[in-house]
Amino acid sequence: MRLQYPPEIKIILMPCTGRVDILHLLKAFEGGADVVFVAGCLEGECHYLAGNIQARKRVAKVKKDFAQMGLEPERVEMFNLSSSEGPRFVAIAQEMTERAFKLGPSPTKQQERKAWLAAQPKAQAG
């Protein structure tokens, strides 16, 4: 369908979302990603039976930890969709990109974040 989505989205292939480790999600932020999302099969349709259920749990755990650390939990998300749902993937990609721009650079990138906060019309501390 070649539906257009924001080029900020970069995809990493995993054998199954069940392989997505909390470590991987955190390392992505460490590397400089501003939002991370996991796109798995529809629940009940996992080729490996339940990998996507495990992934959802891990994403939920990271969200919870983020909230406790003072990071925005919206920076990480889990979605379930099937390979024929191109339009939905685009909608998700757009939503997550918008989120990234709204939330600004992740606090792992201190300099960038400072500059961004300073540039905000109504910068709120913390």
């Binding site: 369908m1 070649r2 539906l3 257009q4 989505y5 080029p7 970069k10 995809i11 990493i12 292939l13 995993m14 054998p15 199954c16 069940g18 392989r19 997505v20 480790d21 909390i22 470590l23 991987h24 390392k27 992505a28 460490e30 590397g31 400089g32 990603a33 080729h47 490996y48 039976l49 339940a50 990998g51 495990q54 891990r58 099937s82 024929s84 749902e85 191109g86 339009p87 939905r88």
Partner: protein, 1082 residues
């Protein structure tokens, strides 16, 4: 070849090419309006203006017409060029201010508004339409007439053109959308090509893919309306295809194949409801077929999954389904059978349609006669649809439908169960159309000499050889065998393959070709030497992303020792080049930056194997599907992303390691558990294919439930079949029988199982490649309806035996009553036992034949005589059997009257009052239960559903496989089913098993999880997490062990392990994190 520079980049193109072609080849974008690859360049719009320096002369000219010559320098973006282009587009935009493509180009060149007086035109007189018509299509039906301001495109004298073929090529090529209606040129109505796959709800091109996931996914040209095929003109696609893949000389060829067997899987067509006058399918736009509705709901369908009424795109609020359109009907068609799938698909569509409507509650109603949800787990779905999703089920055959004035909606008039006539309006009505054999399928059958049943027009087969036709060596599966759903079709497909495999056992493997590969180079200890091949994919990638720049960037990445670009990296000559480069640069890792690994990785992995590299030392960056295609309008950002993707892939590749699979010989024998019909048929099939079979039976007798089958109104000789089967199995040279035996231990993996069978003669150890579970089932022993308290109350089997023995109970009876669903479709057992309706109907027919004066009543909830069994239901009614329906809330009451007679009381829904029956024979159609298999399930680590039936790997696609490789199931252990379906499933299990047994070796390992024993704390997390129950604790080393042969490679345990003691090979944390960090670093 001619060399020139464009914006300081060197381009090499063949002589005679134009500057524009050279620029496009190296990815330099020049805007054009009057240019089209297949049409001779015209230099009309002047937008493609560039600055050319040839010798000591510099001038500006149209790049589309200027031919290249050696050494010229071209600049496409100098200030002067851009200024002139701005003027050109400004004039055109001012003439046609509302044309989006002009606005887009103008804005790109920095204009905000047209500078001149705005015109009202939308034709820029680029001449593409007239040239397309004259040059490529031939008729020259339109031309440019007039001068100056009056210049315009028109037909001669402004009259309808006789020459115009209404082909629409002019409309297609017009860049501004000026030509809106080709009918204005020819005076005829253009006929679009409808998409067959989308049930003709939308249109398709003349060159098209059948559907997005079609295999093969190569587009095809529809020759019936291809100008080239019809007149020899056009050839536009040939000129547009950079891969030169179009070959007009291809013709249909007649090939002769020498085969030993033929499998007929010609499928079905849906009933055409235009013949059903009362339902006005062709007249009312609100009436659509279920197939059309399926496409409407589909994400890849004509409305991208948005639920709308096709006629006016209105979002429906109320939808009705009418069942049995073209099924169970002799008035409007000859389809007296039940199509067996429509009830279930209607429920599914209703539920999914409701899920589609997130903003409002959709009202759905299914009008049906009998709700036939007889498949595995279907009954539960039916209940959930009604109770959780609120789908309304209305038991009524709608007589006729009327339009709702002023809308595309329709009004249904129907007789409710309360006996009153109701009228209800719906926005849409879905006709649940039935399945029937197509004329083509019938013709093919005739050609092959295959007989069809006159009553159903499906292929004739015996219940004992369900996939064999009358013609020896010709097998049949799927709906052409009889109407059925996907799981049943998949089962029969495997069964037909098994049947052919039995016939052709001697020829198996004789035409296999084995590829030869050079020995693998040992690259351990070597510093990574990476070669990168970047692909232009014609212009698919190169047209958006500047590949030369990407290649230069790639060369700066660590360990990259070679990088180059190709027009098509997947072409055969590029494979040769890759081999040479690996050799020349001593590469030990290869990366391709191109398209999807899903389609192309296996091919490249094979290529590097031919150069002696391990196939896992390969990686792809998907810069087409994930980049150039989806960021088409942002070339700069797309290039940056391509660099990121390549950087990530290189980082991963540096960390990849060779993986080796271990090979084990396959034990060419099977263990079959259960000696009923399913087990015996599977054993016989495998034995006939030449494999050794050990058949383990828990009792002292083969045959199981089949001994109980003694009555058939269809003339089936069950006993004769069973005796023949016993004979064949007992005397089979390849089958070893073990009676009074149980499997007590098992270990190993597909191809290499070792099991222990406890026999009266002592324990016996077996080596086997596959296992088939055929543990069977049994009849439920009810505790209601006086069963066991009165000898006139019996189960179906007991009645059959009495009929066969001509027992006085039967011959002397005056009234016989059957009660259906005894123990089935109840909260305790929420499934339909599938076979009891047919069984009772057959018994009733037999009773009527024995004694036409006998009164026979069948008390039922839904009559589920699916498929051709509907004909039996019809026959029973014709013989005078009376059918009375009851609900779960109003079950019949059975009591013993004071005079000792049996008294059955049931409320007749038509009369609306209780009916009292006094039968001498009361038969209970009791549920089918699975035999207890807890221990066996645990031993083989295969799961069972809440009712105790084994769970197959996938309800639709893998109906005889277990999730663990090499273990299969058949018969009642899977779900209740009649004997013909049991035989088909048993053969299917044998067929699936043979796909493993036919191999000489089994390869184990690759992308699998591996435990680092010293890190393992034996916390059992992996044991609990693995969906396939693979990890076990090895107490000799005090660590978890994951059998590489059983591991499916999902990595769930790896990510869950708290000690990080498990790694998934090829997807280690090191590899994933290296890729992530490199990717995010951009």
């Amino acid at each position: 070849m001619v060399k020139l520079t464009i914006n300081d980049q060197v381009a090499e193109v063949p002589e005679g090419a134009t500057v524009l072609e050279a620029a496009r080849k190296i990815g330099v974008r020049i805007p054009t309006l009057c240019y089209y690859e297949a049409i001779k360049p015209y230099g009309g719009c002047r937008l493609c203006l560039v600055e050319v320096t040839a010798g000591n002369r510099t001038f500006r000219t149209a790049s589309c017409t200027y031919p290249v010559s050696e050494g010229i320098q071209v600049v496409t973006d100098s200030e002067l060029v851009l200024k002139r282009r701005r003027m050109v587009i400004d004039l055109l935009w001012s003439k046609c201010p509302d044309v989006p493509v002009l606005a887009e180009i103008a804005r790109e060149l920095g204009l905000k508004e047209p500078s001149f007086i705005k015109g009202k035109d939308d034709c820029i007189l680029c001449g593409l339409c007239t040239r397309m018509c004259a040059e490529l299509q031939g008729p020259a039906a339109i031309g440019i007439v007039g001068r100056g301001a009056k210049r315009q495109v028109m037909t001669p004298f402004g009259e309808f053109s006789q020459a115009c073929r209404t082909c629409g090529a002019c409309q297609f090529v017009c860049p501004t959308g000026h030509i809106k209606d080709v009918g204005q040129i020819s005076g005829k109505t253009p006929k679009p090509k409808f998409s067959e796959f989308n049930a003709c709800l939308d249109t398709r091109g003349n060159i098209y893919r059948l559907y997005p996931q079609a295999m093969p996914s190569t587009p095809a040209i529809d020759r019936s309306s291809c100008i080239q095929a019809l007149t020899g003109e056009c050839r536009a696609c040939e000129k547009s295809c950079p891969a030169e893949a179009i070959d007009y000389t291809q013709q249909d060829v007649r090939e002769t194949l020498e085969v030993g067997a033929v499998v007929l899987a010609s499928g079905f067509q849906t009933y055409d409801p235009t013949k059903y006058a009362a339902y006005h399918y062709s007249k009312f736009p609100g009436v659509v077929t279920s197939l059309e509705f399926e496409r409407i709901l589909s994400a890849s369908g004509p409305f991208a999954g948005h639920l709308v009424r096709p006629s006016d795109h209105m979002e429906p609020k109320k939808i009705a389904w009418l069942q049995c359109v073209g099924s169970r009907d002799l008035n409007h068609c000859d389809n007296s059978y039940c199509s067996a799938v429509c009830c279930m698909y209607a429920i599914k569509q209703a539920v999914i349609a409701k899920e589609h409507c997130k903003d409002y509650t959709l009202d759905t109603a299914i009008f049906f006669m009998d709700m036939r949800t007889h498949g595995k787990d279907f009954e539960k779905y039916y209940w959930r649809a009604e109770q959780e999703h609120g789908v309304r089920f209305i038991r009524s055959r709608v007589h006729s439908i009327d339009p709702v004035p002023g809308s595309d909606g329709v009004s249904l008039r129907f007789l409710g169960e309360d006996g009153a006539v109701h009228t209800e309006d719906f926005d849409m009505v879905i006709l649940s159309v039935g399945l029937e054999s197509s004329p083509d399928a019938l013709n093919l059958a005739k050609t092959l000499g295959v007989e069809v049943n006159q009553d159903t027009r499906f292929a004739r087969s015996s219940p004992f050889t369900p996939v064999s036709t009358d013609k020896p060596g010709v097998y049949v599966c799927g709906v052409f065998q009889g109407p059925k759903d996907i799981p049943q079709s998949v089962m029969e497909a495997s069964a037909a393959a098994a049947a052919a495999g039995e016939l052709l056992a001697a020829a198996r493997g004789t035409e296999l070709k084995k590829p030869s590969l050079p020995p693998e180079r040992d690259v351990s200890g070597e510093e990574p030497r990476i070669g990168v091949f970047a692909c232009n994919c014609g212009i698919n990638i190169g047209g958006v992303i500047k590949i030369p720049e990407l290649v230069e960037y790639t060369k700066t990445l660590p360990n990259v020792v070679f990088a180059d670009e190709n027009l098509f990296t997947c072409s055969a000559d590029t494979q040769g080049k890759i081999l040479e480069v690996i050799e020349e640069h001593r590469l030990n890792r290869v990366m391709v930056a191109s398209c999807s690994p899903r389609t192309h990785a296996p091919m490249f992995m094979e290529t590097i194997q031919q150069a002696g590299l391990n196939p896992y030392l390969f990686e792809m960056a998907n810069i087409r599907d994930q980049d150039s295609w989806v960021h088409m309008h942002e070339p700069e950002k797309a290039l940056e992303k391509a660099k990121d993707l390549v950087r990530g892939a290189v980082a991963r590749l540096r960390n990849l390691e060779p993986l080796h699979k271990m090979e084990f010989p396959v034990f060419k024998s099977a263990l079959v558990i259960g000696g009923g019909v399913a087990g015996m048929e599977a054993a016989r099939s495998l034995g006939d294919m030449g494999f050794q079979v050990n058949l383990v039976e828990a009792t002292d007798k083969l045959g199981g439930n089949a001994w109980n089958l003694v009555v058939s109104s269809r003339g089936y000789n069950y006993r004769g079949y069973l005796e023949d089967l016993l004979q064949a199995v007992q005397n089979h040279p390849h089958i070893q029988l073990m009676f009074n035996s149980q499997v007590t231990e098992t270990s190993g993996f597909v191809g290499n199982f070792r099991s222990t069978v406890k026999t009266p003669q002592g324990d016996q150890d077996l080596e086997h490649g596959v296992t088939i579970m055929a543990t069977g089932g049994k009849a439920h022993q009810p505790e209601e309806y006086l069963y066991g308290q009165d000898d006139r109350v019996m189960l179906a089997f007991e009645l059959d035996q009495a009929i066969a023995a001509r027992d006085a109970k039967v011959t002397g009876a005056k009234q016989a009553v059957f009660i259906q669903c005894v123990g089935s479709r109840e909260p305790a057992r929420p499934y339909c036992s599938r076979l009891c309706c047919t069984h009772s109907v057959e018994s009733a027919i037999e009773l009527k034949r024995l004694n036409p004066d006998l009164d026979v009543f069948i008390l039922y909830r839904d009559m589920r005589t699916y498929g051709d069994k509907e004909l039996l239901y019809k026959e029973a009614r014709e013989l005078g059997v009376v059918f009375i329906r009851f609900d779960l809330e109003g079950k019949p009451q059975v009591a013993k009257a004071a005079d000792g007679s049996l008294q059955v009381t049931v409320t007749d829904p038509i009369l609306g009052m209780p009916v009292v029956l006094k039968p001498d024979l009361l038969t209970l159609a009791s549920a089918v239960l699975p035999n207890p298999t807890e221990e066996l399930g645990e031993l083989f680590k295969v799961s069972r559903n809440a009712e105790g039936f084994f769970n197959e790997a996938h309800a639709k696609l893998r109906p005889v496989d277990f999730p663990s490789d090499g273990i299969f199931l058949a018969g009642l252990a899977h779900y209740p089913k009649p004997i013909d379906e049991t035989i088909a499933q048993a053969k299917a299990a044998a067929g699936r098993a043979a796909t493993f047994l036919a191999q000489d070796t089994v390869k184990v390992g690759g992308v699998v999880a591996e435990v680092q024993q010293d890190k393992c704390a034996v916390c059992l997390t992996c044991v609990r997490t693995c969906p396939f129950n693979v990890p076990v604790i090895d107490y000799q080393v005090d660590a978890a062990y994951i059998d590489p042969a059983k591991c499916q490679g999902c990595g769930v345990c790896v990510s869950e392990c708290p000690a990080k003691a498990i790694q998934l090979k090829h997807y280690t944390d090191l590899q994933i994190i290296a890729q992530e960090l490199a990717l995010a670093a951009g």
